[in-house]
Symmetry: C2
């Protein structure tokens, strides 16, 4: 709510607000989807026709459903149920479908797994800058993760959005009362955290995670700062040790 007490010199230009992505930037997310995807293939492949690529077929169902069902575990659960039926021509046993629903429930209820260095980086950066969290996905799941992460107090604003496109960022920056060139976004997805912010004239730092969902892949020619670890962010911002 209050402006930062001090803007360090050096490093990148100073900012009024720094935005953080959440999934695979502050805590693990894709690992859970990959584990359930592997389990889906194990469960469904024995009932599918020979030669069918079960994982590719599931991704195709997810892609088809993205516009209507959106992001997150519930949409993934519905795509798994639909995919299990269509891929097997209806031959999937109902106890497998019940297990798919339980996998989604477990994924929604499992504890947040923070990535390395996250609490100390937020504390150090938050001492100098106003921080906001901007995440997309399922409202109930993201809210659960934010409130149980122990990180909520670092952020002035918590935003769960439908899509991370330039229009959405423009609306949020207006709400935060910050000009794009005074805003820095930090995240693992070039498609969602980097390119749309740069399109507005804002700044972005890419911190890749070793897993990326197929539907987040993007081809691009843009140049931007990439960090091997979130632990390198304070130094990039010129914050002294």
């Amino acid at each position: 709510m209050t402006p930062p007490p001090h803007r360090p010199d050096g490093g990148l230009a100073a900012y009024d607000v720094i935005g953080f992505d959440a999934d695979d930037t502050l805590w693990q997310s894709e690992d859970g989807f990959r584990a359930n995807e592997l389990r889906f293939v194990e469960l469904v492949a024995p009932h599918a026709p020979d030669g069918v690529d079960v994982k590719a077929a599931l991704t195709a169902v997810e892609r088809k459903n993205l516009h209507t069902f959106g992001y997150g575990v519930k949409a993934f659960a519905i795509s798994m149920v639909e995919g299990a039926i269509t891929i097997t021509g209806g031959k999937i046993p109902t106890d497998v479908i019940a297990e798919l629903v339980e996998m989604a429930r477990t994924q929604l209820e499992e504890p947040v797994r923070l990535l390395p260095h996250v609490p100390e980086v937020l504390a150090r950066v938050g001492a100098h800058y106003r921080l906001v969290l901007i995440t997309k996905g399922d409202l109930v799941h993201q809210t659960h993760k934010i409130t149980t992460s122990g990180l909520e107090h670092h952020f002035d604003e918590l935003e769960v959005v439908l899509e991370k496109d330039p229009e959405t960022y423009a609306r949020l920056l207006a709400r935060f009362d910050v000009e794009p060139d005074r805003f820095l976004m930090v995240g693992n997805s070039v498609r969602s955290d980097i390119l749309p912010v740069m399109a507005l004239g804002g700044h972005a730092v890419h911190v890749p995670y070793h897993l990326l969902w197929d539907l987040e892949h993007v081809d691009h020619d843009e140049k931007f700062t990439e960090l091997a670890s979130l632990a390198d962010l304070p130094a990039l911002l010129g914050i002294p040790d």
Copy 2:
């Protein structure tokens, strides 16, 4: 964004912000759930043991899942799939499960059906007051309905929240920079739109809809203003014809 140009005298006390619920206050919602619930019973009952109350069993699954899956059509879809399997002991055919998923897809994609008088009431009240929309449910579905309703321009703020409890309203009123006693909420759910706002010291007007979801029912002794129709709101606020 701007304060209201004029606060009419008479009627209720004047307010700085008027909040509107969306589902079954501005547009139909419960009708779609009821139709799918009836269809669920038609589809599942023939495979269920004799004497099982299929509708009551589905509601019990929804109640159990509410904390983990939240509100909205995707949560309802997952509860229908789970319920169809558990109620029939796994005997439900997979083509019925596929139809349940399609019912959810249709519900998410169908056009918004505005309730009577809504556009003119928002225009008249919005000429005097700053309006905000506060709705709970599925982020993708609520956003779709808001943007396709043609009503978005009436509202300064659009908030899709996880739960309508006093804590959530307190957070939103702080964001809107309004004191509770200068805030009026208008909605069809006593549990979600009326009681939590009154608990904060705010004001509320109940506009019942003829259908109410079982999980929204609440017992209470509170007294508050009830309108037969949203068309009566301008007069209640002292807005001249």
